[in-house]
Protein backbone atom coordinates (compact mmCIF):
# COMPACT_ATOMS: atom_id res chain seq x y z
CA UNK A 1 0.00 0.00 0.00
CA UNK A 2 2.74 2.38 1.00
CA UNK A 3 5.16 1.61 -1.78
CA UNK A 4 5.40 2.91 -5.31
CA UNK A 5 5.83 0.51 -8.15
CA UNK A 6 6.22 0.84 -11.87
CA UNK A 7 7.10 -1.58 -14.66
CA UNK A 8 8.73 -0.85 -18.00
CA UNK A 9 9.05 -3.14 -21.00
CA UNK A 10 12.34 -3.14 -22.81
CA UNK A 11 12.77 -4.28 -26.40
CA UNK A 12 15.92 -6.07 -27.47
CA UNK A 13 17.97 -4.35 -30.19
CA UNK A 14 16.01 -1.11 -29.86
CA UNK A 15 19.02 1.13 -29.43
CA UNK A 16 17.13 4.33 -30.18
CA UNK A 17 14.89 3.82 -27.13
CA UNK A 18 17.54 2.13 -25.05
CA UNK A 19 18.03 3.99 -21.80
CA UNK A 20 14.59 5.58 -21.67
CA UNK A 21 13.30 3.38 -18.83
CA UNK A 22 16.26 4.21 -16.63
CA UNK A 23 15.83 7.90 -17.44
CA UNK A 24 12.22 7.71 -16.33
CA UNK A 25 13.21 5.92 -13.15
CA UNK A 26 15.73 8.64 -12.45
CA UNK A 27 13.07 11.33 -12.90
CA UNK A 28 10.60 9.52 -10.62
CA UNK A 29 13.19 9.28 -7.84
CA UNK A 30 14.24 12.89 -8.30
CA UNK A 31 10.63 14.03 -7.95
CA UNK A 32 10.30 12.02 -4.78
CA UNK A 33 13.20 13.96 -3.32
CA UNK A 34 15.58 10.99 -3.04
CA UNK A 35 19.15 12.13 -2.34
CA UNK A 36 20.77 13.03 -5.70
CA UNK A 37 23.81 10.82 -5.09
CA UNK A 38 21.55 7.81 -4.53
CA UNK A 39 19.43 8.74 -7.55
CA UNK A 40 22.58 8.64 -9.61
CA UNK A 41 23.60 5.21 -8.32
CA UNK A 42 20.16 3.78 -9.07
CA UNK A 43 20.11 5.44 -12.49
CA UNK A 44 23.50 4.01 -13.46
CA UNK A 45 22.56 0.49 -12.32
CA UNK A 46 19.19 0.71 -14.09
CA UNK A 47 20.86 1.93 -17.27
CA UNK A 48 23.47 -0.84 -17.31
CA UNK A 49 20.79 -3.47 -16.74
CA UNK A 50 18.49 -1.95 -19.35
CA UNK A 51 21.26 -1.81 -21.94
CA UNK A 52 22.12 -5.44 -21.29
CA UNK A 53 18.59 -6.32 -22.39
CA UNK A 54 18.82 -4.04 -25.43
CA UNK A 55 22.14 -5.53 -26.47
CA UNK A 56 21.73 -9.23 -25.75
CA UNK A 57 18.12 -10.20 -25.05
CA UNK A 58 14.87 -10.52 -27.00
CA UNK A 59 12.86 -8.53 -24.52
CA UNK A 60 12.67 -7.78 -20.85
CA UNK A 61 10.75 -6.10 -18.09
CA UNK A 62 12.19 -3.82 -15.47
CA UNK A 63 10.34 -2.76 -12.35
CA UNK A 64 11.18 -0.17 -9.79
CA UNK A 65 9.75 -0.45 -6.29
CA UNK A 66 10.19 2.38 -3.84
CA UNK A 67 9.32 2.45 -0.19
CA UNK A 68 10.70 4.80 2.46
CA UNK A 69 13.49 2.34 3.33
CA UNK A 70 14.50 0.71 0.05
CA UNK A 71 14.59 1.10 -3.68
CA UNK A 72 14.49 -2.14 -5.66
CA UNK A 73 15.12 -2.73 -9.33
CA UNK A 74 13.95 -6.07 -10.73
CA UNK A 75 14.68 -7.03 -14.26
CA UNK A 76 13.81 -10.22 -16.05
CA UNK A 77 14.70 -10.87 -19.63
CA UNK A 78 14.13 -13.50 -22.26
CA UNK A 79 17.41 -14.05 -23.96
CA UNK A 80 20.55 -16.13 -24.20
CA UNK A 81 21.26 -16.00 -20.49
CA UNK A 82 24.73 -15.82 -19.03
CA UNK A 83 26.86 -18.95 -19.27
CA UNK A 84 29.38 -18.10 -16.58
CA UNK A 85 28.07 -15.55 -14.09
CA UNK A 86 31.29 -15.42 -12.09
CA UNK A 87 33.26 -14.52 -15.18
CA UNK A 88 30.65 -12.01 -16.35
CA UNK A 89 31.01 -10.18 -13.05
CA UNK A 90 34.70 -9.58 -13.69
CA UNK A 91 35.69 -6.16 -15.00
CA UNK A 92 36.72 -6.20 -18.61
CA UNK A 93 35.01 -9.48 -19.50
CA UNK A 94 32.54 -9.00 -22.33
CA UNK A 95 30.79 -10.94 -25.04
CA UNK A 96 29.83 -7.76 -26.91
CA UNK A 97 30.28 -7.66 -30.66
CA UNK A 98 32.59 -5.20 -32.38
CA UNK A 99 29.54 -3.16 -33.44
CA UNK A 100 28.36 -2.77 -29.86
CA UNK A 101 31.86 -1.73 -28.82
CA UNK A 102 31.90 0.77 -31.66
CA UNK A 103 28.87 2.38 -30.02
CA UNK A 104 30.70 2.69 -26.73
CA UNK A 105 29.15 -0.35 -25.07
CA UNK A 106 30.53 -3.74 -24.15
CA UNK A 107 33.65 -2.67 -22.27
CA UNK A 108 32.93 -5.41 -19.79
CA UNK A 109 32.00 -2.92 -17.12
CA UNK A 110 28.23 -3.38 -17.05
CA UNK A 111 27.64 -6.00 -14.39
CA UNK A 112 30.57 -4.91 -12.21
CA UNK A 113 29.22 -1.37 -12.44
CA UNK A 114 25.80 -2.49 -11.21
CA UNK A 115 27.45 -4.29 -8.32
CA UNK A 116 29.56 -1.25 -7.47
CA UNK A 117 26.52 1.03 -7.32
CA UNK A 118 24.09 -1.34 -5.58
CA UNK A 119 23.84 -2.21 -1.91
CA UNK A 120 22.77 -5.70 -2.87
CA UNK A 121 22.94 -7.36 -6.28
CA UNK A 122 21.56 -10.80 -7.00
CA UNK A 123 21.93 -12.20 -10.47
CA UNK A 124 20.43 -15.45 -11.67
CA UNK A 125 20.45 -16.90 -15.14
CA UNK A 126 19.33 -19.96 -16.99
CA UNK A 127 21.59 -20.44 -19.95
CA UNK A 128 19.55 -20.30 -23.13
CA UNK A 129 16.45 -18.86 -21.45
CA UNK A 130 17.10 -15.59 -19.69
CA UNK A 131 18.55 -13.59 -16.87
CA UNK A 132 17.03 -11.99 -13.81
CA UNK A 133 18.46 -9.16 -11.76
CA UNK A 134 17.47 -8.09 -8.25
CA UNK A 135 19.17 -4.86 -7.33
CA UNK A 136 18.58 -3.28 -3.93
CA UNK A 137 19.47 0.13 -2.53
CA UNK A 138 19.01 1.28 1.04
CA UNK A 139 17.52 4.74 1.30
CA UNK A 140 19.01 5.46 4.72
CA UNK A 141 22.42 4.03 5.63
CA UNK A 142 22.19 0.71 7.50
CA UNK A 143 21.54 1.08 11.19
CA UNK A 144 19.70 4.38 10.82
CA UNK A 145 15.93 4.54 11.18
Amino acid sequence: MQGFSRTFSIAGQDFSKGGSASLEIKEILREMGVDPALVRRVAIAAYEAEMNVVMYAERGEMSVDVDPQTIRLSLDDEGPGIEDIERAMQEGYSTATAEMQQMGFGAGMGLPNIKKNADLFELASTFGKGTSYRITFHVAPAGQP
Binding site: Q2, G3, F4, G19, S22, L23, K26, I28, R30, E31, M32, G33, V34, P36, A37, V39, R40, A43, I44, Y47, V66, D67, P68, G104, N113, V139
Partner: protein
Amino acid sequence: MSRYPHSVRVDADRCDGRRRCLRVCPTEAIRVRAGETLILEDRCIDCGECITACPSDAVVPRTDSFGDLGRFKHTVVIPSPTLYAQFGRAILPDKILRGLRRLGFDEVFDLAITCGDTSLAIENLLEEHKGPRPLIFNGCPAVVRLIQVKYPNLVDHIVPIKLPQCLAAKEIKETRSRELGLRPEEIGTFYVTPCPAAMIDIQQPATEGESHLDGVISIADVYGPLLAALESVDVESYRRGLESICILGMGWAVAGGMHRTLRIDNVLDVSGISEIIKTLDDVERGRLQNVALVVAYSCPQGCVGGALTVENRYISYNKVLRLLETLEREHIEACRDKREVRERYRRRIFHMEHPYVPRPLRSLDRDLGRAISKRKRKEEIYDGLPKVDCGICGAPTCLAFAEDVVMGDARLTDCIFQAPRRIKELTGEISRLLDAIGGGANP
Protein backbone atom coordinates in the same frame (compact mmCIF):
# COMPACT_ATOMS: atom_id res chain seq x y z
CA MET B 1 13.57 40.51 -3.79
CA SER B 2 12.99 37.02 -5.11
CA ARG B 3 15.48 34.22 -4.68
CA TYR B 4 16.19 33.80 -8.38
CA PRO B 5 15.47 36.94 -10.38
CA HIS B 6 15.33 36.01 -14.02
CA SER B 7 16.43 37.40 -17.33
CA VAL B 8 12.99 37.69 -18.85
CA ARG B 9 9.60 39.02 -17.89
CA VAL B 10 6.24 38.73 -19.56
CA ASP B 11 4.63 41.97 -20.71
CA ALA B 12 0.98 41.37 -19.85
CA ASP B 13 -0.21 44.04 -22.30
CA ARG B 14 1.43 42.34 -25.26
CA CYS B 15 0.71 38.74 -24.26
CA ASP B 16 -2.32 37.46 -26.13
CA GLY B 17 -2.27 34.01 -24.62
CA ARG B 18 -1.10 31.88 -27.53
CA ARG B 19 1.05 29.82 -25.20
CA ARG B 20 3.92 29.08 -27.54
CA CYS B 21 6.29 29.79 -24.65
CA LEU B 22 4.52 27.17 -22.56
CA ARG B 23 5.35 24.46 -25.08
CA VAL B 24 8.94 25.37 -25.94
CA CYS B 25 10.25 25.79 -22.41
CA PRO B 26 12.71 22.92 -21.88
CA THR B 27 12.31 22.88 -18.10
CA GLU B 28 8.52 23.39 -18.03
CA ALA B 29 8.98 26.65 -16.15
CA ILE B 30 5.97 28.50 -17.57
CA ARG B 31 2.36 28.40 -16.39
CA VAL B 32 -0.67 30.41 -17.37
CA ARG B 33 -2.81 31.03 -14.32
CA ALA B 34 -5.91 33.21 -14.24
CA GLY B 35 -5.01 34.56 -17.66
CA GLU B 36 -1.54 35.61 -16.55
CA THR B 37 1.67 34.06 -17.87
CA LEU B 38 4.04 33.23 -15.03
CA ILE B 39 7.65 32.09 -14.98
CA LEU B 40 8.40 29.64 -12.18
CA GLU B 41 11.63 31.01 -10.82
CA ASP B 42 13.14 27.83 -9.49
CA ARG B 43 12.68 26.02 -12.82
CA CYS B 44 13.77 28.74 -15.28
CA ILE B 45 17.31 28.36 -16.64
CA ASP B 46 17.29 31.61 -18.65
CA CYS B 47 17.79 29.93 -22.02
CA GLY B 48 15.66 32.46 -23.89
CA GLU B 49 13.67 29.87 -25.89
CA CYS B 50 10.47 31.68 -24.85
CA ILE B 51 11.74 35.00 -26.22
CA THR B 52 12.32 33.47 -29.63
CA ALA B 53 9.04 31.54 -29.62
CA CYS B 54 6.71 34.38 -28.65
CA PRO B 55 4.84 35.66 -31.71
CA SER B 56 3.81 38.84 -29.89
CA ASP B 57 7.20 39.87 -28.48
CA ALA B 58 5.63 39.68 -25.05
CA VAL B 59 8.59 37.89 -23.44
CA VAL B 60 10.96 40.74 -22.80
CA PRO B 61 14.62 40.41 -21.84
CA ARG B 62 15.68 42.55 -18.94
CA THR B 63 18.53 44.43 -20.57
CA ASP B 64 19.72 47.98 -20.07
CA SER B 65 19.56 50.93 -22.42
CA PHE B 66 22.12 53.57 -23.32
CA GLY B 67 20.29 55.93 -20.99
CA ASP B 68 21.97 54.27 -18.05
CA LEU B 69 25.42 55.58 -19.01
CA GLY B 70 24.90 58.87 -17.16
CA ARG B 71 25.26 57.23 -13.76
CA PHE B 72 29.00 56.83 -14.26
CA LYS B 73 32.06 59.08 -14.64
CA HIS B 74 33.83 56.72 -17.03
CA THR B 75 32.04 54.18 -19.18
CA VAL B 76 33.53 51.13 -20.88
CA VAL B 77 31.71 49.00 -23.41
CA ILE B 78 32.65 45.32 -23.63
CA PRO B 79 31.18 43.64 -26.71
CA SER B 80 30.75 39.88 -26.92
CA PRO B 81 32.62 38.45 -29.96
CA THR B 82 29.14 37.56 -31.22
CA LEU B 83 28.71 41.23 -32.13
CA TYR B 84 31.61 40.82 -34.58
CA ALA B 85 29.89 37.71 -35.93
CA GLN B 86 26.98 39.83 -37.13
CA PHE B 87 29.36 41.40 -39.67
CA GLY B 88 31.98 38.75 -40.41
CA ARG B 89 34.71 39.63 -42.90
CA ALA B 90 32.79 42.59 -44.29
CA ILE B 91 33.41 44.81 -41.27
CA LEU B 92 36.23 43.76 -38.99
CA PRO B 93 36.30 44.10 -35.18
CA ASP B 94 38.66 47.09 -35.18
CA LYS B 95 36.09 49.12 -37.08
CA ILE B 96 33.20 47.85 -34.97
CA LEU B 97 35.02 48.86 -31.79
CA ARG B 98 35.55 52.39 -33.12
CA GLY B 99 31.92 52.60 -34.14
CA LEU B 100 30.77 51.44 -30.71
CA ARG B 101 32.77 54.12 -28.99
CA ARG B 102 30.91 56.78 -30.92
CA LEU B 103 27.66 55.63 -29.33
CA GLY B 104 28.59 57.50 -26.16
CA PHE B 105 31.09 55.31 -24.35
CA ASP B 106 34.41 56.65 -23.07
CA GLU B 107 36.25 53.48 -23.89
CA VAL B 108 35.87 50.19 -25.75
CA PHE B 109 37.36 46.90 -24.63
CA ASP B 110 38.03 44.02 -27.03
CA LEU B 111 36.60 41.08 -25.11
CA ALA B 112 37.78 38.58 -27.73
CA ILE B 113 41.30 38.89 -26.29
CA THR B 114 40.04 37.95 -22.82
CA CYS B 115 38.01 35.12 -24.36
CA GLY B 116 41.21 33.83 -25.96
CA ASP B 117 43.02 34.06 -22.61
CA THR B 118 40.20 32.10 -21.05
CA SER B 119 40.44 29.38 -23.70
CA LEU B 120 44.13 29.05 -22.90
CA ALA B 121 43.35 28.98 -19.17
CA ILE B 122 40.91 26.13 -19.80
CA GLU B 123 43.65 24.31 -21.71
CA ASN B 124 45.86 24.70 -18.63
CA LEU B 125 43.06 23.47 -16.40
CA LEU B 126 42.56 20.36 -18.53
CA GLU B 127 46.26 19.52 -18.37
CA GLU B 128 46.21 19.31 -14.58
CA HIS B 129 42.61 18.18 -14.07
CA LYS B 130 42.29 15.13 -11.86
CA GLY B 131 38.59 15.37 -11.01
CA PRO B 132 35.53 13.89 -12.69
CA ARG B 133 35.44 13.67 -16.49
CA PRO B 134 34.35 15.15 -18.74
CA LEU B 135 34.61 18.77 -17.70
CA ILE B 136 31.73 20.90 -18.97
CA PHE B 137 32.40 24.36 -20.41
CA ASN B 138 30.75 27.12 -18.37
CA GLY B 139 30.51 29.79 -21.09
CA CYS B 140 26.80 29.27 -21.68
CA PRO B 141 24.82 30.47 -18.65
CA ALA B 142 21.76 28.44 -19.61
CA VAL B 143 23.81 25.23 -19.64
CA VAL B 144 25.28 26.04 -16.22
CA ARG B 145 21.80 26.63 -14.83
CA LEU B 146 20.41 23.52 -16.52
CA ILE B 147 23.06 21.51 -14.67
CA GLN B 148 22.38 23.26 -11.37
CA VAL B 149 18.66 22.63 -11.68
CA LYS B 150 18.35 19.22 -13.37
CA TYR B 151 21.76 17.59 -12.98
CA PRO B 152 22.84 18.52 -9.43
CA ASN B 153 25.23 15.55 -9.49
CA LEU B 154 27.23 17.17 -12.26
CA VAL B 155 28.04 20.59 -10.76
CA ASP B 156 31.59 19.47 -10.03
CA HIS B 157 32.06 18.82 -13.76
CA ILE B 158 31.57 22.53 -14.58
CA VAL B 159 34.75 24.38 -15.55
CA PRO B 160 35.62 26.56 -12.51
CA ILE B 161 37.14 29.35 -14.60
CA LYS B 162 35.75 32.90 -14.56
CA LEU B 163 33.74 34.08 -17.53
CA PRO B 164 35.70 36.49 -19.77
CA GLN B 165 33.23 39.36 -19.35
CA CYS B 166 33.42 39.11 -15.55
CA LEU B 167 37.20 38.88 -15.60
CA ALA B 168 37.44 41.83 -18.01
CA ALA B 169 35.07 44.01 -15.96
CA LYS B 170 37.04 43.29 -12.80
CA GLU B 171 40.36 44.15 -14.43
CA ILE B 172 38.96 47.30 -16.07
CA LYS B 173 37.62 48.57 -12.74
CA GLU B 174 40.91 47.87 -10.99
CA THR B 175 43.19 49.45 -13.57
CA ARG B 176 41.02 52.40 -14.56
CA SER B 177 40.15 53.41 -11.01
CA ARG B 178 43.88 53.53 -10.28
CA GLU B 179 44.77 55.40 -13.46
CA LEU B 180 41.89 57.86 -13.46
CA GLY B 181 41.68 58.40 -9.72
CA LEU B 182 38.07 57.23 -9.61
CA ARG B 183 36.29 54.91 -7.27
CA PRO B 184 35.47 51.53 -8.88
CA GLU B 185 31.75 52.26 -8.66
CA GLU B 186 32.22 55.43 -10.70
CA ILE B 187 33.37 53.32 -13.64
CA GLY B 188 30.53 51.76 -15.61
CA THR B 189 31.15 48.48 -17.44
CA PHE B 190 28.58 47.50 -20.06
CA TYR B 191 28.47 44.12 -21.74
CA VAL B 192 26.98 43.93 -25.23
CA THR B 193 25.42 40.50 -25.45
CA PRO B 194 23.51 38.09 -27.68
CA CYS B 195 22.18 36.38 -24.61
CA PRO B 196 19.22 37.20 -22.37
CA ALA B 197 20.84 35.19 -19.60
CA ALA B 198 23.77 37.59 -19.39
CA MET B 199 21.97 39.98 -17.07
CA ILE B 200 21.48 37.29 -14.48
CA ASP B 201 25.23 37.06 -14.07
CA ILE B 202 24.89 40.51 -12.59
CA GLN B 203 21.74 40.05 -10.52
CA GLN B 204 21.91 36.35 -9.82
CA PRO B 205 25.42 35.01 -10.42
CA ALA B 206 25.61 31.23 -10.78
CA THR B 207 28.18 31.24 -8.00
CA GLU B 208 28.46 33.50 -5.01
CA GLY B 209 30.43 36.69 -5.14
CA GLU B 210 29.78 40.03 -6.71
CA SER B 211 29.71 40.74 -10.39
CA HIS B 212 31.79 43.58 -11.75
CA LEU B 213 29.51 44.30 -14.69
CA ASP B 214 27.15 47.23 -14.31
CA GLY B 215 24.88 46.73 -17.26
CA VAL B 216 23.95 44.56 -20.18
CA ILE B 217 22.92 45.84 -23.61
CA SER B 218 21.46 43.58 -26.25
CA ILE B 219 23.13 43.25 -29.66
CA ALA B 220 19.72 43.87 -31.21
CA ASP B 221 19.48 47.26 -29.47
CA VAL B 222 23.00 48.30 -30.41
CA TYR B 223 22.89 47.12 -34.01
CA GLY B 224 20.96 49.96 -35.61
CA PRO B 225 22.82 52.86 -33.99
CA LEU B 226 26.10 51.03 -34.62
CA LEU B 227 25.39 50.62 -38.34
CA ALA B 228 24.73 54.35 -38.59
CA ALA B 229 27.92 55.17 -36.67
CA LEU B 230 30.03 52.84 -38.83
CA GLU B 231 29.37 54.92 -41.93
CA SER B 232 31.79 57.58 -40.82
CA VAL B 233 34.43 55.33 -39.26
CA ASP B 234 37.74 54.95 -41.06
CA VAL B 235 40.29 52.24 -40.45
CA GLU B 236 43.95 52.04 -41.44
CA SER B 237 43.89 48.91 -43.52
CA TYR B 238 42.07 45.61 -43.85
CA ARG B 239 45.27 43.73 -43.12
CA ARG B 240 45.80 45.61 -39.84
CA GLY B 241 42.21 44.82 -38.95
CA LEU B 242 42.80 41.12 -39.45
CA GLU B 243 46.00 41.25 -37.44
CA SER B 244 44.15 42.59 -34.42
CA ILE B 245 41.81 39.58 -34.14
CA CYS B 246 42.35 36.88 -31.54
CA ILE B 247 41.28 33.75 -33.37
CA LEU B 248 40.51 31.82 -30.18
CA GLY B 249 38.36 34.63 -28.79
CA MET B 250 36.56 35.13 -32.09
CA GLY B 251 35.71 31.43 -31.93
CA TRP B 252 33.66 31.95 -28.77
CA ALA B 253 30.77 33.14 -30.92
CA VAL B 254 30.20 29.72 -32.48
CA ALA B 255 29.91 26.11 -31.38
CA GLY B 256 33.29 24.49 -31.86
CA GLY B 257 35.20 27.77 -31.99
CA MET B 258 36.59 28.33 -28.50
CA HIS B 259 39.01 25.41 -28.71
CA ARG B 260 39.65 25.40 -32.45
CA THR B 261 43.37 26.07 -32.24
CA LEU B 262 43.98 24.49 -28.84
CA ARG B 263 45.71 21.21 -28.19
CA ILE B 264 42.93 19.42 -26.37
CA ASP B 265 42.19 15.79 -27.10
CA ASN B 266 38.59 14.78 -27.50
CA VAL B 267 36.33 17.80 -27.10
CA LEU B 268 32.64 17.24 -27.69
CA ASP B 269 30.72 20.19 -29.16
CA VAL B 270 26.98 20.22 -28.59
CA SER B 271 24.37 22.86 -29.24
CA GLY B 272 20.61 23.09 -28.74
CA ILE B 273 18.95 22.34 -25.41
CA SER B 274 17.40 18.98 -26.32
CA GLU B 275 20.74 17.62 -27.57
CA ILE B 276 22.48 18.97 -24.48
CA ILE B 277 19.98 17.17 -22.25
CA LYS B 278 20.75 13.87 -24.03
CA THR B 279 24.47 14.51 -23.64
CA LEU B 280 24.17 15.35 -19.94
CA ASP B 281 22.14 12.16 -19.43
CA ASP B 282 25.08 10.28 -20.91
CA VAL B 283 27.57 12.14 -18.72
CA GLU B 284 25.49 11.29 -15.68
CA ARG B 285 25.49 7.62 -16.63
CA GLY B 286 29.26 7.74 -16.86
CA ARG B 287 29.31 7.07 -20.58
CA LEU B 288 31.52 9.97 -21.67
CA GLN B 289 34.52 9.57 -19.40
CA ASN B 290 36.83 9.38 -22.41
CA VAL B 291 35.80 12.93 -23.38
CA ALA B 292 37.98 15.68 -21.89
CA LEU B 293 35.63 18.62 -22.34
CA VAL B 294 32.01 19.08 -23.36
CA VAL B 295 31.41 22.49 -24.93
CA ALA B 296 27.67 23.02 -24.93
CA TYR B 297 25.67 26.03 -26.09
CA SER B 298 21.95 26.13 -25.45
CA CYS B 299 21.41 28.06 -28.69
CA PRO B 300 21.88 26.08 -31.90
CA GLN B 301 25.23 26.95 -33.57
CA GLY B 302 26.41 28.67 -30.38
CA CYS B 303 26.06 32.30 -29.28
CA VAL B 304 25.38 33.41 -32.86
CA GLY B 305 22.01 31.72 -32.27
CA GLY B 306 21.30 33.92 -29.24
CA ALA B 307 17.85 35.43 -28.85
CA LEU B 308 19.23 38.99 -28.88
CA THR B 309 21.13 38.76 -32.16
CA VAL B 310 20.12 40.28 -35.47
CA GLU B 311 21.61 38.07 -38.18
CA ASN B 312 20.29 34.60 -39.04
CA ARG B 313 22.28 32.17 -36.87
CA TYR B 314 23.43 30.03 -39.80
CA ILE B 315 24.60 33.02 -41.76
CA SER B 316 26.53 34.50 -38.84
CA TYR B 317 27.95 31.05 -38.07
CA ASN B 318 29.19 30.91 -41.63
CA LYS B 319 30.57 34.43 -41.36
CA VAL B 320 32.63 33.48 -38.32
CA LEU B 321 33.84 30.29 -39.95
CA ARG B 322 35.04 32.14 -43.03
CA LEU B 323 36.75 34.74 -40.88
CA LEU B 324 38.49 32.01 -38.86
CA GLU B 325 39.60 30.32 -42.08
CA THR B 326 41.02 33.58 -43.36
CA LEU B 327 42.94 34.07 -40.10
CA GLU B 328 44.27 30.52 -40.27
CA ARG B 329 45.33 30.94 -43.89
CA GLU B 330 47.11 34.17 -43.02
CA HIS B 331 48.65 32.62 -39.88
CA ILE B 332 47.21 35.36 -37.70
CA GLU B 333 46.86 34.60 -34.02
CA ALA B 334 46.61 37.88 -32.20
CA CYS B 335 45.98 36.09 -28.93
CA ARG B 336 48.17 36.72 -25.95
CA ASP B 337 51.31 34.72 -25.45
CA LYS B 338 50.60 31.25 -24.03
CA ARG B 339 53.38 31.58 -21.48
CA GLU B 340 51.96 34.83 -20.18
CA VAL B 341 48.53 33.27 -19.74
CA ARG B 342 50.07 30.24 -18.04
CA GLU B 343 51.82 32.51 -15.60
CA ARG B 344 48.53 34.28 -14.77
CA TYR B 345 46.82 30.90 -14.53
CA ARG B 346 49.41 29.84 -11.95
CA ARG B 347 48.59 32.97 -9.95
CA ARG B 348 44.95 31.78 -10.05
CA ILE B 349 43.74 34.96 -11.79
CA PHE B 350 41.26 32.87 -13.78
CA HIS B 351 39.92 30.66 -11.02
CA MET B 352 36.49 31.31 -9.61
CA GLU B 353 36.38 32.26 -5.97
CA HIS B 354 33.28 30.19 -5.26
CA PRO B 355 32.24 26.80 -6.60
CA TYR B 356 29.07 26.11 -8.55
CA VAL B 357 26.41 24.70 -6.27
CA PRO B 358 23.30 22.65 -7.13
CA ARG B 359 19.94 24.36 -7.29
CA PRO B 360 17.73 21.26 -7.37
CA LEU B 361 14.03 21.46 -8.15
CA ARG B 362 11.61 21.08 -5.30
CA SER B 363 10.51 17.53 -4.63
CA LEU B 364 6.92 16.38 -4.14
CA ASP B 365 7.48 16.20 -0.40
CA ARG B 366 10.32 16.31 2.11
CA ASP B 367 9.13 13.05 3.59
CA LEU B 368 9.75 10.10 1.28
CA GLY B 369 6.64 8.26 2.45
CA ARG B 370 4.44 11.23 1.63
CA ALA B 371 6.33 11.84 -1.62
CA ILE B 372 5.60 8.26 -2.66
CA SER B 373 1.88 8.78 -1.99
CA LYS B 374 1.90 12.01 -3.97
CA ARG B 375 3.73 10.34 -6.87
CA LYS B 376 1.04 7.66 -6.94
CA ARG B 377 -1.69 10.28 -6.79
CA LYS B 378 0.00 12.12 -9.64
CA GLU B 379 -0.13 8.98 -11.77
CA GLU B 380 -3.79 8.39 -10.93
CA ILE B 381 -4.63 11.93 -11.96
CA TYR B 382 -2.56 11.63 -15.11
CA ASP B 383 -4.35 8.40 -16.08
CA GLY B 384 -7.65 10.33 -16.08
CA LEU B 385 -6.32 13.15 -18.27
CA PRO B 386 -6.64 13.27 -22.08
CA LYS B 387 -2.82 13.34 -22.63
CA VAL B 388 -3.10 15.70 -25.57
CA ASP B 389 -0.93 18.32 -23.85
CA CYS B 390 -3.20 21.09 -25.13
CA GLY B 391 -2.00 23.61 -22.55
CA ILE B 392 -5.45 25.10 -22.02
CA CYS B 393 -5.22 24.40 -18.28
CA GLY B 394 -2.10 26.57 -18.22
CA ALA B 395 0.43 23.77 -17.73
CA PRO B 396 2.68 22.64 -20.61
CA THR B 397 1.75 18.94 -20.46
CA CYS B 398 -0.89 16.75 -18.83
CA LEU B 399 1.87 15.24 -16.69
CA ALA B 400 2.98 18.66 -15.44
CA PHE B 401 -0.67 19.51 -14.78
CA ALA B 402 -1.10 16.33 -12.72
CA GLU B 403 1.87 17.39 -10.62
CA ASP B 404 0.47 20.91 -10.21
CA VAL B 405 -2.79 19.41 -8.94
CA VAL B 406 -0.98 17.17 -6.46
CA MET B 407 1.06 20.12 -5.23
CA GLY B 408 -2.08 22.23 -4.82
CA ASP B 409 -1.07 24.72 -7.50
CA ALA B 410 -3.95 23.85 -9.84
CA ARG B 411 -7.41 22.32 -9.58
CA LEU B 412 -8.49 19.28 -11.54
CA THR B 413 -11.40 21.30 -12.90
CA ASP B 414 -8.88 23.58 -14.65
CA CYS B 415 -8.68 20.80 -17.25
CA ILE B 416 -11.23 21.59 -19.93
CA PHE B 417 -11.74 17.88 -20.61
CA GLN B 418 -13.11 17.52 -17.11
CA ALA B 419 -16.01 19.84 -18.07
CA PRO B 420 -18.29 17.29 -19.80
CA ARG B 421 -17.85 14.95 -16.86
CA ARG B 422 -18.71 17.76 -14.48
CA ILE B 423 -21.76 18.71 -16.58
CA LYS B 424 -22.89 15.09 -16.52
CA GLU B 425 -22.51 14.97 -12.75
CA LEU B 426 -24.39 18.25 -12.37
CA THR B 427 -27.17 17.05 -14.68
CA GLY B 428 -27.57 13.97 -12.52
CA GLU B 429 -27.62 16.07 -9.38
CA ILE B 430 -30.22 18.42 -10.81
CA SER B 431 -32.53 15.65 -11.96
CA ARG B 432 -32.24 13.99 -8.53
CA LEU B 433 -33.07 17.32 -6.91
CA LEU B 434 -36.03 17.81 -9.20
CA ASP B 435 -37.27 14.29 -8.43
CA ALA B 436 -36.91 14.94 -4.73
CA ILE B 437 -39.03 18.09 -4.80
CA GLY B 438 -41.51 16.49 -7.15
CA GLY B 439 -40.92 19.10 -9.81
CA GLY B 440 -39.78 16.65 -12.47
CA ALA B 441 -43.08 16.66 -14.31
CA ASN B 442 -43.67 19.15 -17.09
CA PRO B 443 -46.15 21.91 -16.30
